[in-house]
Assembly symmetry: C2
Homo-oligomer: 157 residues x 2
Amino acid sequence: MDLFFEKCRENKLKITPQRVAIYKALTASVSHPSAEQIHKEVKKLFPNLSLDTVNRTLVTFAGAHMIDVVEGHGDSRRFDPNREAHHHFYCVSCRKIFDFQADSFQADPLDSLVLPREMEEKFLITGKRICLTGYCDQCRSKMAGKKLTLVAVKHRI
Amino acid sequence: MDLFFEKCRENKLKITPQRVAIYKALTASVSHPSAEQIHKEVKKLFPNLSLDTVNRTLVTFAGAHMIDVVEGHGDSRRFDPNREAHHHFYCVSCRKIFDFQADSFQADPLDSLVLPREMEEKFLITGKRICLTGYCDQCRSKMAGKKLTLVAVKHRI
DNA sequence: TATTAAATAGGATTAAATCCTATTTAGGTG
DNA sequence: CACCTAAATAGGATTTAATCCTATTTAATA
């Protein structure tokens, strides 16, 4: 919980009972829950907690780097026809996906990826990719100086 | 287009004008479009092409490994409280996310990732992860022997 | 060319995310 | 410690994406 309080203060996020409960519920989770799952859980303590609050709170936490938003990011399904081995950078602000390859003088790091044996044996792996997240150049400058707040349009910058 | 015909035959997918057009539109795309974007494009040729057809076709193509479904996978947003460096395996069938670390005797391949200079300079990178996709052990056995078809519940196995 | 399983269209439904507005509250300030 | 205000919340409405359902059409094969 130390991280929670520290990051809240750092980002001037108010510490509310709901937020504490949401954060606790997430850290206690074994899987990688959706907002709805967290909502269901925390409703036991706060019967009239709204789903919107959960979603916005979690996205805000992610913005403060207390947690991560993982696949999916909550937006629509996207497709990629490129069959060459390549990697992705996903801009969490504009949601554009940028392709990249590791620096050309280096070998692709995935070539040297050795998976845990159990996984290699049990799972059927059909795709491997490095996924970076962050802010693209455009969004980076747009957000310069803006402070983190829940009053966000579409949870974006 | 060779891959298209080859993979269609291989998977016993009928080659329809709509499918050809959808595939072409995707390969012609520069970004990583959503079904809706492709729909909008292909509608120019087939004014009464339905969005459902586009979505199902694209997901089917992905099942046949002609294209990839990338972030997001089309399901709800998921959260992860784990701050330790780790990687993900995403089961495209049950949508569970499994954490893993590279084999413990190896260094994490991301440690040696050298990004293109332009990217390193311009983008603000806040997260790095290896993302594997495929079928987890349970789903793998469930789907054994099932053939690929568009008649799928929730586009799953 | 006849057959049939597979694919499509189009509208209905579901589900997730977000919006909107009134109300409440955390945290700073006098 | 009470007040003040910006920030957060609740709850319902709306929007958007994905999927479902069913009647119709069609690609592939024999």
